[in-house]
């Protein structure tokens, strides 16, 4: 079945990327930053340098492996921040309603009106470049979809008998949100989170490409691409491999997200998002 192919292919690719990142020190052939050797500059892929070398003569294979660490950290952590913010705002807005709901709705609409990458760019321009700043910039700018989804799901669950029953049994609001509502909306939130992670990986690459994310010489895929701009015709491998890494990671996360949706969120099977 097509649905399961999504899940399996996405899962396998994603696990491969995770392994690459986690075991980079063992898998890499050289140090990604220090082992520069201009004697080896711009060598095409071969036996010694599987993916070739860049302008400073660093091993692209090793740098791509280490780049996975940065991409995954930024993707996972920033998306976790987004999810926590989105769920907290969305569930509480949906549950309590009233002025708080109006306020959260206004905030969400504002966030949706500003392209999140531009917003992140602005934050990065204020903060100094670096991984912490990236996490803040990407973690604060992409929660609106999660928030909308949580709010809508909460609204529909709020009238369910078991939520009413919990109120009648004397449960506090926070307890109801955590024990009655959250477990029942988790499926779609995980799906959105996974898809959002792919977006965060792309955003990190874009910011780093623009020089606002991870600064050289640290091996972020985005900054590697940025560095490779001038050699794209003469030494295409310098940009191809980090580009391929981004492509595979984002593809893996999107396939995984789609696959999870089919399992966790059976209602959405009919619609194709």
């Amino acid at each position: 079945m097509g649905l399961r192919v999504n899940l399996w292919l996405g899962g396998v690719l994603f696990v491969a990327v995770v392994i690459a990142g986690v075991f980079a020190p063992w898998l890499a052939h050289t140090d990604p930053v220090l082992d520069a050797n201009l004697m080896n500059a711009e060598l095409p892929p071969g036996e010694e340098f599987w993916f070739g070398t860049d302008a400073q003569g660093r091993d692209i294979y090793s740098r791509v492996l280490y780049g996975a660490r940065i991409s995954l950290t930024v993707g996972i952590v920033s998306q976790l921040i987004n999810t926590v913010i989105g769920v907290a705002l969305g569930v509480s807005a949906g549950y309590w309603g009233g002025w708080w709901d109006d306020f959260v709705n206004g905030l969400t609409n504002m966030m949706l009106a500003i392209p999140s990458l531009i917003f992140a760019l602005a934050i990065m321009a204020i903060l100094s470049p670096g991984i912490t700043s990236l996490l803040i910039a990407l973690g604060l700018t992409n929660w609106s979809y999660t928030c909308r989804l949580s709010r809508a799901s909460t609204l529909s669950l709020k009238s369910q008998g078991y939520v009413q029953a919990a109120k009648i049994l004397g449960y506090g609001d926070a307890r109801i949100m955590f024990t009655q509502i959250l477990p029942n909306i988790l499926g779609p939130i995980i799906v959105i989170g996974t898809l959002g992670m792919g977006g965060a990986v792309l955003a990190e690459a874009a910011l780093s490409f623009l020089g606002l994310g991870i600064r050289p010489p640290y091996p972020s895929w985005g900054s590697m691409l940025s560095d490779a701009r001038d050699q794209i015709t003469t030494a295409p491998w310098i940009s191809i491999f980090p580009g391929l890494a981004i492509f595979i990671t984002v593809l893996a996360l999107n396939l995984l997200g789609d696959g999870l949706r089919d399992i966790l969120d059976p209602q959405s099977k009919a619609r194709t998002a």
Binding site: G161, Q164, A165, A166, I168, L169, Y171
Partner: protein, 343 residues
């Protein structure tokens, strides 16, 4: 005047629930209080529920019976009036949710949406106990086992999840959840209408047994007048937010005075006959602008000109415990059987 109510314990006991002039109004539409209209969902209801009694609450959808139930359970803040549970005013602000939980619980209509699909039955029953300060594992186990047996389930079935049960069994779990805190009052919201017809008798019998053995008091909302007649000790008929007739079940079903009550009873298809009795036409008017005078007059087959003007009729006693809100209640004292010919 002859009171048909049998001298049961219910008739003499003091009320466990007393509702005084309760009103729930909802603001509708408008922006920043401009053009806001008010729906009078419940509009001045006085009601008593005595210990061990089942009070049937009937009326068309939109009559306010569900809003009234939610107000009793504390899910809907009243606009005015008081709700006294065992003599204590629980409608005041700042009343502890948990204290009210121990006094009144609810059984829901839909046994599917009323159980959390991600919680085992045990968790559904255990969490409220812990919340209410019962933490000893042995006591929790004992109380869960006892309540499971009371509703006709085996204690070991508590380890299962809702989807492993049939509709009737789910409703038993819903009843167990309502019983776990040992409340005095249980609100039954259409307790059997979502169940298969061949399962309903099981639940109706169970509810009646529990009422006897545990001394429970019920407020039962139902549109099935057969179920209401079978289960209720007293009945209250609501129309547009007000009680229009209330009394012992025999009076309501054999000698109804209000034309609306008669219409509700006559609307039930008689399985032994053909055709339907007296009918009222039209539907509940827009509650935003209830008609002047008697609110039922636009649909009432017995309405006269004086029914259309203020003041609205009051709920007046016609016999022991039997009250009717009708200007013509005195003239309309005919047996129900005659009503169908009166068309």
């Amino acid at each position: 005047m002859l009171d048909l109510a049998p001298p049961t314990a219910a008739a003499t006991a003091e009320p466990v629930l007393k509702i005084e002039d309760l009103a729930v109004h909802f603001p509708i539409g408008g922006f920043l209080s401009f053009g806001v209209q008010t729906v009078h969902a419940v509009d001045g209801v006085d009601m008593e529920l005595r210990a061990g009694e089942c009070l049937g609450l009937v009326g068309e959808s939109g009559c306010g019976k569900s809003t009234l139930a939610l107000a009793i359970l504390g899910l809907q803040a009243p606009t005015r009036g008081r709700i006294l549970l065992d003599g204590r005013d629980v409608s005041a602000r700042g009343t502890d949710r948990r204290e009210r939980a121990r006094a009144a619980q609810m059984v829901f209509q839909d046994p599917y949406s009323s159980l959390n699909p991600r919680q085992s039955v045990r968790r559904t029953l255990e969490a409220p106990l812990k919340l209410h300060g019962i933490t000893a594992k042995s006591e929790i186990d004992d109380r869960i086992a006892a309540v499971m047996r009371h509703v006709g389930l085996r204690p070991e079935q508590a380890a299962r999840y809702p989807h492993e049960f049939s509709g009737g069994q789910r409703q038993r779990i819903g009843i167990a959840r309502a019983l776990i805190l040992e409340p005095r009052i249980i609100v039954l919201d259409e307790p059997v209408s979502a169940l298969d017809v061949s399962i309903r008798a099981q639940i109706i019998n169970l509810l009646l047994e529990l009422k006897e053995t545990m001394g429970l008091s019920y407020i039962m909302i139902s549109h099935d007048l057969g179920v209401v007649e079978h289960m209720s000790d007293r009945v209250a008929v609501m129309y547009l937010g007000r009680i229009v007739e209330t009394g012992p079940w025999e009076r309501i079903f054999t000698a109804p005075r209000h034309p609306y009550t008669r219409a509700l009873i006559d609307a039930i298809p008689d399985p032994f006959g053909k055709g339907l009795g007296m009918r009222i036409s039209g539907e509940i008017p827009n509650p935003l602008s209830p008609p002047p005078g008697c609110r039922f007059h636009p649909r009432c087959p017995e309405a006269r000109d004086f029914c259309k003007v203020e003041p609205a009729p009051e709920l007046e006693p016609v016999a022991g415990g039997h009250l009717v809100r009708c200007l013509r209640a005195g003239e309309l004292a005919r047996p129900a059987a005659g009503v169908s010919e009166a068309e």
